[in-house]
């Protein structure tokens, strides 16, 4: 099985901030084959389009997703109750490759932080994690990252918690200790991270977002501009070719 559409049971639900929710979706079959950086496509009652949400972690039989209320669909999803059935298509997309013999910097920005948890756990003490948030009220998952073997650095844009400023400043300081960089977050942040990685000659992989329909690669909706080797441009798709792309290929 590559992926399937199946019901999960909402096994536990936590509210991390006024707008961010933490769901544990029980489905042993799908949890067993879900890898870091992949996503699940969540059916929201009454909505035509599913919501693509990155996998935060896999804990035994549970797929853990941490999502922010962004609009009507995620609002409805946030109102699901423990014990409810939630239908997902999973696991989807190509996630982050995590080589055992490489030191890797994982960077999350805002709601791009959750997928870095499963990655950091998989990389063990080879992981350096830099998580950036808007302010103290938006900080999530600190204890979860501390429970992995990673080295954790946290920043806030306004300095109300952790290091004052963007993730790029600490990145400049630690990048030469690492072999590669993996990142998820807002596009401007990813673009700057890619620039820094390139100037230090490090491999860089980024997880991208796009408005999505099918989630499996059939409808070609979630296009992202990609440079071909001959310099020409083509469109690949976040759902099937990504969400993780080599930053060098991305047409920013």
């Amino acid at each position: 099985m590559k992926f399937d559409a199946q019901d999960c049971i909402l096994n536990a639900k936590y509210q991390l901030t006024p707008t961010i929710f933490d769901f544990r979706l029980r489905n042993p079959e799908l949890a067993a084959v879900t890898k870091p950086g992949q996503f699940v496509h969540v059916l929201v009652p009454g909505k035509t389009l599913r919501r693509p949400i990155s996998v935060c972690d896999v804990d035994g039989d549970d797929i853990r997703i941490v999502f922010e209320i962004r609009g009507e669909g995620t609002k409805i999803l946030s109102e699901c109750k423990v014990g409810d059935k939630i239908n997902i298509i999973a696991p989807l997309g190509k996630g982050f490759e995590i080589p055992k013999d490489k030191k890797i910097i994982f960077i999350g920005g805002g709601i791009g932080v959750p997928p870095m948890l499963y990655c950091a756990a998989a990389a063990g003490n080879n992981a350096i994690v830099i998580n950036g948030f808007r302010d103290k009220s938006a900080v999530i998952l600190t204890e979860d990252f501390k429970n992995t073997s990673c080295r954790l650095i946290e920043t806030t844009d306004n300095g109300s918690y952790g290091i004052h400023g963007f993730v790029t400043a600490p990145l400049e300081e630690v990048i030469d200790e690492a072999d590669m960089v993996c990142a998820c977050g807002p596009a401007p942040m990813l673009r700057n991270i890619a620039k820094i990685a390139k100037s230090h000659n490090k491999e860089c992989y980024v997880s991208l977002e796009q408005r999505m329909a099918c989630g499996v690669g059939a409808c070609l909706g979630c296009a992202v501009g990609i440079k071909r080797e001959d310099g020409s441009m083509t469109y690949k798709h976040v759902c099937k070719d990504g969400p993780v792309f080599n930053a060098e290929e991305v047409e920013w």
Binding site: L49, C214, C219
Partner: protein
Amino acid sequence: MADLSVNIAGIHFNNPVIAASGTIGFGHEYGELYPLSVFGGISCKGTTLKERPGNPPPRIAETPMGMLNAVGLQNPGVEHFVNVELPWLKKQNTVVIANAAGSTEEDYCKIVEILSDTDVDMIELNISCPNVKQGGAQFGTSPESVEKITSAVRKYCKKPLIIKLSPNVSDIAAVAKSAEYAGADAVSLINTLTGMRIDINTRRPIIKNVTGGMSGPAVFPVAVRMVYQVKKAVKIPVIGLGGITTWQNAVEMMIAGADALQIGTVLFTDPYAPVRITEGLHGYLDTHGMESVTELTATVEV
């Protein structure tokens, strides 16, 4: 169990549920979930003479009970379709419909000529793509232009020819009659309705192409109305599509006048929709003591 098979322009379909063009690509992805033979047929992604990169993103926006898309006919070109996709599709035990698109009359004639010399079972002419400046929609907007393009293509077409109609017209029955008069073997309708959404914070259209094609449950009543009007106007088979989401919708569309159906957007909501809909059709026919799904077609009592 009742017989779900239908015959459209001499082609046998195991059931009336066909995958709509542009929603299933060339079948590989949904083929991971079930054998593609759950579909009576597959209408493949709209194919042009040369590879097309498609429109810049965002290409998708959600709407109440539906969606907009402006993919812009991204496709690998007819040569790739014939050499790579078609041999695989022919082994899937389902009717293979090539969906041909173009920018000029010559393009359409050329691609239909190429497809006529292959193993495709039928050709669906896409003269209604709303998302490409030169995407053929201008051929689908009036009875006169539909008659002209259909007549031109007919000379090169050695396969059963389906003309896919745009709903963005004032008199759909007149357009369908023109297609029939010019030699179409069947019509399929409706393609998407042109729509638009705007982000109220940025005041920018959500879709980069500004407008897109609207599909999903919201368009279903429009599709039922148009299929009803077209069935009364033509003698050739009518393939009904537009927002079919449940088996009840499938039954309704056939009662309105459809000889076969296409489903599209519902696959994004529920990938298993074709299984659910064919099971529901069986249940309905058995409950009503009908032996064949064809007994439903155009039985609306007005």
